[in-house]
């Protein structure tokens, strides 16, 4: 797959934005974007994600959006088979956009790129899981046409 170069300047798009696989040199910026969103720096976690997802393995993706010389956002996901009894589908389990780069179509470009990859891998559904109180990210995925999936996440306190 490919890097997706965004040339048009239609609404929601941005000239000069390039979506490509993440590289080791991107990691510090990805960690910083994630830390701004979650309040927690997780260098070891992200190093592990880069090791496992950065090489664009058969069904794993770790993409970044590059604008100028800076990383404006990232997305991580993979195709999983029969998880929770579901036919193979694409899962997005991490997305982030630099706060000063929001509302410029970067999240949409990242989701579009990973969705195109999932489609090429033969799946017809993309899913994600969002905390109920994370209205920003929940609204973003809704704005991209995502609806409630026919699954209910459950949990139990086992502490």
């Amino acid at each position: 797959m490919s890097s997706v170069k965004r040339r048009r300047s239609a609404a929601g798009e941005r000239p000069g934005l390039r979506v490509r696989s993440a590289l080791p040199a991107d990691l510090a910026q990805v960690i910083a974007i994630d830390e701004r969103a979650t309040g927690l720096a997780k260098p070891e976690y992200w190093a592990g994600i880069l090791r496992r997802y950065g090489r664009r393995g058969a069904r794993r993706r770790f993409l970044v959006a590059e604008a100028g010389a800076r990383i404006a956002g990232f997305i991580v996901g993979e195709v999983r088979d029969w998880e929770f009894g579901s036919p193979p589908c694409g899962w997005v389990f991490g997305i982030g956009v630099r706060p000063d780069a929001r509302e410029a179509g970067i999240g949409a470009a990242l989701l579009e790129a990973i969705t195109a990859d999932f489609r090429r891998l033969g799946v017809a559904t993309v899913r994600t899981l969002i905390a109920r109180d994370n209205q920003l990210v929940l609204s973003f995925f809704r704005s991209q046409g995502m609806m409630a999936a026919p699954v209910i996440p459950l949990e139990k306190d086992i502490g």
């Binding site: 509302e103 109920r132 109180d133 209205q135 929940l138 609204s139 809704r142 704005s143 046409g145 409630a148």
Partner: protein
């Protein structure tokens, strides 16, 4: 899930306004399309106006115009003006029957989901959804 009549009128109206933000729409025109009395709809629109979602324009050719940000205003912002759907339930009091407490817990779960759903769908997203339902999006 059922919403009250005024809540639905408010949602339909505000979507109508948000779809044509530059246009000024008359109460009579919207009332006719929603098949309600202009008097009834005017009360609903006044609530939307007090919340800053629409601006009223006075005069013979007066009416209302959208005043919000369709990418920011959510369904919950509108619904919350008219009913307490998904409002946090009071914490379980001591001494209540176990069945009441257990049911309360399940109902809270449903409320939380409803609130998160309505709070995550913006008017802009709804307009896209309407476009798709209509075969245009």
């Amino acid at each position: 899930m059922r919403l009250q009549k005024n809540t639905l009128l408010a949602l339909y109206s505000v979507l109508e306004f948000a779809a044509q933000p530059a246009r000024q729409l008359s109460v009579a025109g919207i009332a006719e399309s929603l098949r309600v009395s202009p008097h009834h709809l005017a009360k609903v629109l006044r609530s939307l106006g007090r919340a800053g979602l629409v601006d009223s324009v006075r005069g013979a050719r007066g009416g209302y115009r959208f005043a919000g940000n369709a990418r920011r205003v959510t369904l919950m912002d509108v619904i919350g003006l008219f009913e307490d759907i998904g409002a946090p339930r009071p914490r379980t009091r001591r001494g209540r029957r176990p069945a009441e407490r257990a049911l309360e817990q399940v109902l809270r779960e449903i409320d939380d989901t409803a609130r998160a759903t309505f709070g995550s769908v913006t008017l802009d997203t709804m307009l896209k959804l309407i476009g798709r339902s209509d075969g245009r999006g």
